[in-house]
C-alpha cells in the first residue's frame, strides 16, 4: 500500500465492484430461493438490457430514459422465460431445471448472434462512465461512486420491499415453506413471477454498469457476470439473501485485491482459483458462509 490515496482508491473500487457483484448474486439467489432453479440464463438478461442500451440508445431519447427502457426489457424477458420455459418444468428435478436454463441461455445468446451481430457493439454511454474526479487529492472514477451508491440504494430498497410489503414477505415465506405459503392464500405463480421480475430488474441495473465498464455489448456479454454470480452466491450461501450480498462484496474485494497485488502470471489463474474455491465450498460448506438460520422444510 503506497499511500492513503491508493487505499481509498482500492476501497472505492472494491465497494463499487462488490456492490455490483452483490446485485448479480442476488438476482440468482432470489429465484433459487423459491424455485430451486439456478438460472443459467440470468446472464442473458444482462445481455438483453445491454442490447436495449444499444438499440434505444440510437434514438434521440435521453440516456436515463434509455437506461430505464433497457431495464424494463430485462424484466420482460425474465418474466417471459419464466412463463414459457421454467413454469412447465417447475415440478421436475433441479437437474432438469438447470438443463432447461442452460438451453434458454444458449437460445438467447444465439438469437442475439443471428439477429444482431456476433461482433461487439458500443452503445451510447454518457460521459460520466469515463470521467474521474479528484477529491482532496484522491482520484476516483465517477462511475465507481455512482455504482457504489446505486448498489447500496438497490440493496436497501430490496430489503425494505422484502420486509414491509406483503409480496416481499410472501417471497421470503415461500423460500421457507412453499406449500404453506400457498395455504395462506398466496398465489404461487405470482410470487415466482415477482422473483423473476426482481431478478430481471437487478440484471438490468447490473447491465448498465457492467456494460458501462467494458464499453461494449456482444452476445456473450452475460457470461462473466453469471459466473461471478455463481461464485458469489455459492460462497455466500445460495439460499440466503444476506449470503449473496456478503459473497458479492467479498468477491469484489478479492478480485480488485488480486488484480492490484498479485503478479500478472498468477492472475491468469484467477478464474481457476475462484472456481476451485467454489468446488471446495460446495464440498465443505454447501450452505455457504451464511447458513440459513433454520433448516428448510421439505416441500
Amino acid at each position: 500500500m503506497e499511500s492513503i490515496s491508493d487505499f481509498v482508491q482500492y476501497l472505492v473500487s472494491s465497494l463499487s465492484v462488490g456492490g455490483l457483484y452483490a446485485l448479480m448474486a442476488l438476482g440468482l439467489v432470489i429465484v433459487y430461493g423459491i424455485s430451486q432453479l439456478i438460472n443459467f440464463a440470468y446472464g442473458e438478461l444482462i445481455m438483453v438490457a445491454g442490447y436495449g442500451l444499444l438499440i434505444f440508445g440510437r434514438s434521440w431519447l435521453p440516456w436515463l430514459i434509455v437506461a430505464v427502457m433497457s431495464i424494463l426489457c430485462a424484466i420482460i424477458f425474465a418474466l417471459g422465460m419464466d412463463q414459457i420455459a421454467f413454469k412447465p418444468v417447475r415440478n421436475a428435478s433441479p437437474t432438469t431445471m438447470l438443463i432447461t436454463s442452460f438451453a434458454v441461455s444458449t437460445l438467447l445468446q444465439n438469437i442475439a448472434l443471428l439477429f444482431i451481430s456476433p461482433r461487439p457493439r458500443a452503445p451510447r454511454l454518457p460521459s460520466i462512465f469515463v470521467k474521474s474526479v479528484e477529491v482532496v487529492g484522491i482520484r476516483v472514477k465517477i462511475v465507481d461512486v455512482i455504482a457504489l451508491a446505486v448498489s447500496i440504494v438497490a440493496l436497501i430498497a430490496l430489503q425494505i420491499f422484502l420486509r414491509k410489503s406483503i409480496v416481499g414477505l410472501s417471497l421470503r415465506a415461500a423460500a421457507d415453506d412453499f406449500t404453506m405459503t400457498r395455504l395462506v392464500g398466496v398465489n404461487a405463480n405470482k410470487v415466482i413471477a415477482t422473483a423473476f421480475a426482481i431478478s430481471g430488474l437487478l440484471a438490468g441495473i447490473v447491465a448498465l454498469f457492467w456494460i458501462g465498464r467494458i464499453g461494449q455489448v456482444l452476445p456473450t456479454v452475460g457470461f462473466q457476470p453469471v459466473l461471478i454470480a455463481f461464485i458469489a452466491s455459492v460462497v455466500g450461501g445460495l439460499s440466503s439473501i444476506k449470503g449473496a450480498v456478503l459473497g458479492g462484496y467479498i468477491l469484489g474485494f478479492l478480485t480488485i485485491g488480486l488484480q492490484t497485488w498479485l503478479p500478472q502470471d498468477v492472475n491468469a489463474y484467477r478464474d481457476a482459483i475462484m472456481f476451485a474455491i467454489v468446488i471446495v465450498m460446495l464440498l465443505v460448506r454447501p450452505e455457504g458462509l451464511i447458513r440459513p438460520a433454520f433448516s428448510r422444510e421439505t416441500r
Partner: protein
Amino acid sequence: MTLLYLSKLNVFYGANHAVRDLDLQIEEGEIVGLIGANGAGKSTTMMSIMGAVKPRSGAVVFDGRNITGMAPEDVLKLGIAPVMEGRRIFQSLTVGENLRMGAATVADKDQVAKDIERWCILFPILKERYDRPAGNLSGGQQQMVAVARALMSRPRVLLMDEPSLGLAPLIVADIFKLIAELRSLGMTVLLVEQNVRMTLNIADRAYLLNLGRVEFSGTPDQIRAEADIERTYLGGGQTSAPAASPATAS
C-alpha cells in the same frame, strides 16, 4: 346451523382407498373432534376440506356452497383456515411477519393491524417475541403463532391437524385450553387429533375414524361410554395401527 358438511366423501391415493363414504357435519360454534389411529384418514379428510387433496367422489359443502375440489387459496378466502400438522410456521420470518402472512388475502390494512393487536392480547407471548424469527420459538410458542396466523384471515372454521403433536404434556394442556377459548369467541373448530382423551375433554361432538370409515360418532360422553371402542381404538389401538397412509406422511 350446519356450517360445513361432507357427504359420501371418497379419497384415493393411487390404489389406497384412504377415505370411504365419509359423512360429517359441523354446526356453527362447535368444536368437532376427528379422532382415530394413525392412518385412519383424519388428515386426508382435512386436506380434502381445504382443497389440498381432490376427492374422487362425494361433496364438501361450506355455508350452503359446494366447495369440492376448489383450490386451497379459494377455500381460504371463503373462510376455512388450516393449522397444519407440524405447525409449518415461516421459520425465518419474525412472529409479526408470520401474522401478516396469515392475512395475505386481507386487503384492509386497518383490519390487519387491529387483528394483530387483538391476538397479541390473547397470546401475550406473540407480543413478547414479536420481532424475533419465529424459528427461535419453542414448539408450544410456534403452535400459538400457527394458530394466530390462521386466525388472521378471519376464518369461520379453523381446521386443526394434530396441534398436540410433539409437544410436552403441559404445553398440550395449554393448547387445548386455548382451543376451548376460541370457541367462546365464536370460532368453529374441526380438530384432528390422536390425543383422544384431551380431545374428548373439549369437543362438543367427535367422529371416530378407522381405516377411512366413520366408526362411531356422538358426544364425548357417548364415545366414552362405548368401552369397547375405548379398548380397541383408543387404548392399544395406536400401536397396532395399520401402516401410515400417505395422508399422514404428506
